[in-house]
């Protein structure tokens, strides 16, 4: 049984191909101006990687903000539902998920089957999302991948930043840099502000049970460490936290196929 999940997010498009219960292939590409084209491109890449053709895929579920414009999907399911399912696949004991995506951030509670029992999304602001880190990366001339590590190496003291608005935070950062504050201290402030913001979100849904972080910011060790400290839980992070939603979509596809097969019998 081969199924696929396609997650078209605000910043990246992801595909996972699942054979029975094993990941055959996956890919992540930046989302272009045409979400439909992004979906097709990342899907084709993944098919090629797996040595498969479209006809080999028995069911495709799309998710993410662009889920409704994926022309080849059989069904679309929201990313919150898919992230919970994907996190449950990686870590069956998970009950609390923090998905930190490109433009938004979600706190999700789920049961032992990966079914959503509660969720909260960040409000209309990118301050708790990946985009804020991209802005800081550009401003501080630091690659995204290095930001987290540097933020843990505080040189003098953490430079506190606004946790309410990324645009105001940008102005604050410029102010610190003009004062000669070390880059690492500013990075520490940025990671702390983000952690503060998502912690509030997690508190809203209730902090309990095993904890998973998904989404691109899960790769930022500076943010993850600070969140773990606030939450008081060790975060489980899979080998590629950006594919959790796409994987969840593929798992849903498998479930749908299994039900169909059972009905036929």
């Amino acid at each position: 049984m081969i199924t696929a999940g396609v997650d078209v997010g605000s910043l990246t498009g992801k595909t996972v191909i699942l054979k029975d219960n094993e990941i055959l292939a996956w890919n992540i590409i930046p989302t272009g101006p045409d979400s439909s084209e992004t979906a097709k491109e990342v899907f084709d890449m993944t098919l090629k990687q797996a040595g498969l053709t479209m006809e080999d895929i028995e069911y495709i579920v799309s998710t993410g903000y662009g889920r409704v414009v994926v022309p080849f999907s059989n069904k679309n399911i929201t990313e919150i539902t898919c992230h919970a399912k994907g996190a449950n696949w990686f870590f069956p004991s998970v009950r609390l998920i923090l998905d930190m995506g490109g433009q938004d951030c979600k706190g999700i509670r789920c049961d032992d089957t990966g079914k959503v029992t509660n969720f909260a999304m960040n409000d209309k602001c990118a301050a708790g999302a990946g985009r804020s880190m991209e802005i800081m990366s550009g401003l501080l001339d630091t690659p995204l991948a290095e930001m987290g590590g540097l933020s843990l190496d505080i040189k003098n003291r953490l430079a506190p930043l606004s946790s309410t608005c990324v645009v105001f935070a940008r102005t604050e950062v410029l102010g610190y840099l003009h004062e000669g504050t070390h880059k690492n201290d500013v990075l520490a402030g940025a990671c702390e502000a983000l952690a503060d913001r998502v912690y509030t979100l997690l508190k809203r849904v209730g902090i309990e049970g095993d904890f998973v972080i998904s989404g691109g910011i899960a790769k930022n060790i500076g943010v993850v460490k600070r969140i773990e400290q606030k939450v008081g839980l060790k975060a489980n992070i899979c080998f590629e936290p950006q594919i959790v939603g796409a994987l969840g979509a593929a798992v849903f596809g498998r479930g749908i196929l299994e039900k169909k097969t059972a009905k036929k019998k």
Binding site: I80, K115, F119, A120, D123, K124
Partner: protein, 417 residues
């Protein structure tokens, strides 16, 4: 001003159209009175409408005019004018909307049908104090008389003590005296008649609610949003009673025929917070999942949430004082929370949608209390997200729908389990 993707709410009842016509006629009558030289009063919904009836005083209610503006997607324009005037974005969006409309040098031809400049202001602190300050600005702007009615905050629940009722009776009498000083004639018999009709209006509203509890729901909250208008502006009038009699008959028929808003109703939702008046179609959005918003908070904060048996036409001012103070919008959290829990139970609600208008100083605080109470007492989940129901500039269609999609999806999954 950018144009946002919006859709009007889909109404399914004939009486909604009749009420729509009554709204237009109401404002047309006010404009006509103004042209004849009768002073126009601007007031707020919890100053009992019946008093204005007894004075034959044309009154515009300042929580309704912004709705009229909002439904035509014009709220952003007038809110911006208020901000240009110096009002902060933290001031209530409803207030900014009527403030902008009040001070605007020009108004759209559509709005001119509804807009009559004020000659007198009767303000109050019920339910929110900031409204009285917004009204002061309008009074200064037009150079007109202003009277303030002080309503005690209800800290007693549903049993209002005599001294509080007496105090509010004095306040209401003060408003009557003030308006008499400004040329209106007060007719106590008319006040008694008005109280009698108000009592009937709320009895009918309660009967209507009884039929709305039916499964499938015969009436969505989009119709409910229109249907609650008589409680605001037509309380104590025969027209209001007639409209509700018609609505009741229409619902009786639908329930008898088992005719619902949806053919295959799977979920029943309730909306807490101000729905997007500029995009009421969002309430219909969930219908693609066979979900229907059967009730919204707006329907019970407009002055009809009280036991009509407290209305005694022989003690008209006391009755009006009591009903105002006991109304659930008077800030006593227990009344509001209890009311929502009761509604969730009686309407067999599967999920509560809580939309937060950040510029409201009153309702966002209730959200958490209500979310907890509804979950603990009925086991029903709530999804809370930001959505300013009045300021169209703040509206984010993608995020609002993403929240609704995820919430409905999780509710459906729970039902299947």
């Amino acid at each position: 001003m950018t144009t946002k993707v919006t859709a009007p709410g889909k109404k399914s009842l004939q009486t909604s159209l009749e009420i729509g016509k009554a709204v237009k006629a109401y404002y047309a009558n006010i404009k006509e009175a103004k042209e004849k030289g009768v002073p126009v009063i601007w007031s707020y919904g919890l100053i009992p409408r019946e008093i204005f009836n007894a004075l034959d005083a044309p009154a515009i209610y300042l929580e309704h005019l912004p709705v009229v503006i909002g439904t035509k997607q014009l709220s952003g324009h007038y809110i911006q004018i208020a901000e240009e005037e110096g009002f902060s974005r933290d001031v209530c969006a409803f207030h900014r909307c009527f403030l902008g409309c009040a001070v605007a040098k020009e108004r759209e031809p559509y709005l001119e049908k509804f807009f009559a400049p004020p000659d007198i202001i009767v303000a109050t602190n019920l339910p929110c104090m900031s409204e009285s300050k917004s009204f002061l600005y309008v009074a200064d702007h037009y150079g007109i008389p202003y009277h303030f009615v002080d309503a005690p905050i209800n800290t007693w629940g549903s049993d209002i003590p005599d001294y509080a009722v007496e105090y509010y009776v004095d306040q209401l009498q003060g408003a009557i005296d003030f308006l008499v000083e400004h040329g209106f004639n007060y007719n106590r018999d008319k006040l008694k008649e008005s109280v009698c009709l108000s009592k009937r209006l709320v009895e009918l509203w309660n009967e209507i609610d009884g039929y709305r509890k039916a499964v499938p729901s015969p009436m969505s909250s989009v119709d409910g949003f229109t249907a609650c208008y008589p409680l605001v502006s037509l309380a104590g009038t025969q027209l209001g009673v007639t409209l509700y009699e018609n609505l009741l008959e229409e619902l009786k028929q639908k329930v008898a025929n088992k005719e619902g808003v949806l053919d295959n109703e799977k979920l029943r939702l309730m909306w807490f917070g101000v729905p997007p008046v500029y995009n009421m179609g969002l309430l219909n959005y969930v219908e693609k999942y066979d979900a229907v918003v059967v009730k919204s908070m707006v329907e019970y904060i407009v002055g009809g949430a009280y036991d009509p048996s407290i209305m005694d036409p022989e003690r008209p001012l006391e009755s009006l004082a009591y009903k105002s103070l006991v109304d659930i919008i008077n800030p006593t959290s227990e009344n509001m929370v209890d009311f929502v829990v009761k509604t969730v139970k009686e309407f067999k609600i599967d999920g509560l949608i809580g939309s937060v208008k950040r510029s409201c100083g009153l309702l966002p605080g209730y959200m958490r209390l209500i979310k907890d109470a509804v979950y603990q007492e009925v086991g029903i989940p709530t999804s809370i997200f930001d959505l300013d129901g009045m300021d169209i500039r703040e509206y984010d269609d993608v995020t609002s729908k993403a929240n609704l999609d995820s919430f409905v999806e999780s509710l459906l999954a729970s039902k299947r389990k």
